[in-house]
Symmetry: C2
Subunit: 246 residues, 2 copies
């Protein structure tokens, strides 16, 4: 049985997230359909991150097992020829049988894109969140220092999530600005459901607050989603990289 | 009668170009409909550049005359609230009565975006043309030197265009690379219909040709569209700026 690893880029606008759902278009279902056509057998695909409805990816990783003898490069070309244009296979490689896109992943990296002006963009309307209030980048970075390390992120987890362990280790949480765009990149061993959007929304809410540090500490300690701010919208978010131990 | 100048950004994917057409969605019609709703009178809008089907804009300029007493800032906000999300008013300003978006314009600037790799982008599929052959940037720039200045561009004009004067003055024609993207920006007093796409396609066709300069000279001198290369696709093109004398 061969094990094939895919790196994927997708525009999540028209999908109800990664994970298969009855009667709704999802990325997993769409990929599995194309894989089944290509290999002429049903195939189950495993994604590294279960991105939510409307969330994008520039570096999602997935894998699947197959008896097919199709050359690995033909998986990329064949899938790209069959998939809708909002899903693209950036690479396909053969990996050892034990490789598991989700469980073998050691780090995930997300980027949140904010258009920091009064009016949205026509061209990047589906990949940036228009937020008109001033964002003090150095203040946002100071504030996010508190998140670095190992914490219980229950306060930033979508209510009703099924994950048992709410503890994640954050390696990096960095804000920067380029022209009218502000970017927030965050890397962790794992993320709870809705976590990046909840952190982004909460930082944007408290950044101008005089006691922002105290507020953020209080939210983190509360272990209660109701304590944090609103989630930033899905369409600003993209899973940009998944890392594995060599 | 007030004269209002708009700077517009739009995603041209879902429009049959700028100019009004019977029974087809165009940018001009869509803007005029929103303006009529806002001012409660029919309004004719004038665009600086009549972008083709599928072509985008980051800096299209338009103007219209109105008796409406709506504050100028409300034109921006009001239109942005009414327009579909793929058209955005970046600014609205009141200008002297003689200002004409098209005839007063002294320079137009277009950018053509090429994704220079084997497979397209999912996220930027509607704003970049995927071209996998190697592009020698310095060679492209050398080749385009020939276009600078005043020339008859009949060979790069879409067949059946109604423009009488095929002479344009090119001020700048510049290629550059950033990561996997290659950009071509060109600025002129005016452009013939389809001209930027025909130039882009022709440069991409001849760039690896040993006698590319001779070929391009022959094409320019032929004054015949059939002499030039294929047009690069519309979705890579964007009208990024229109300039006026102060």
């Amino acid at each position: 049985m061969r094990n094939i690893k895919l790196v994927l880029e997708y525009d999540g606008t028209n999908y109800h997230g990664w994970q298969t759902q009855p009667n709704l278009p999802t990325l997993q279902d769409t990929l599995e359909e194309s894989l089944a056509k290509l290999t002429k057998t049903p195939i189950r695909i495993i994604g590294a991150g279960r991105t939510d409805t409307g969330v994008h990816a520039e570096g999602q990783v997935a894998n699947f097992h197959t008896e097919s003898e199709i050359p690995v490069v033909a998986f990329q070309k064949g899938l790209n020829a069959m998939l809708p244009r909002d899903i693209v296979v950036c690479s396909a490689t053969e990996v050892p049988p034990e490789f598991h896109a989700r469980f073998s992943a050691t780090r995930r990296r997300y980027r949140y894109t904010i258009l920091n002006r009064e009016y949205p963009s026509a061209l990047l309307r589906q990949t940036s969140y228009c937020f008109s209030k001033e964002i003090d980048i150095s203040r946002a970075n100071d504030l996010c220092q508190m998140l670095i390390g190992t914490h219980d992120f229950t306060s930033f987890q979508k209510v009703g999530s099924d994950r048992i362990n709410p503890v994640c280790e954050i390696y990096e949480a960095h804000w920067w600005q380029k022209d009218t765009y502000v970017y927030f990149e965050i890397e962790a061993d794992a993320f709870l459901r809705g976590m990046v959007r909840a952190i982004t929304g909460t930082v944007l809410k408290y950044i101008k607050h005089q006691e922002a540090e105290t507020q953020l500490r209080r939210i983190l300690d509360a272990k209660d989603r109701a304590a944090a701010g609103m989630s930033a919208p899905a369409h600003g978010l993209s899973l940009i990289e998944v890392k594995y131990n060599a």
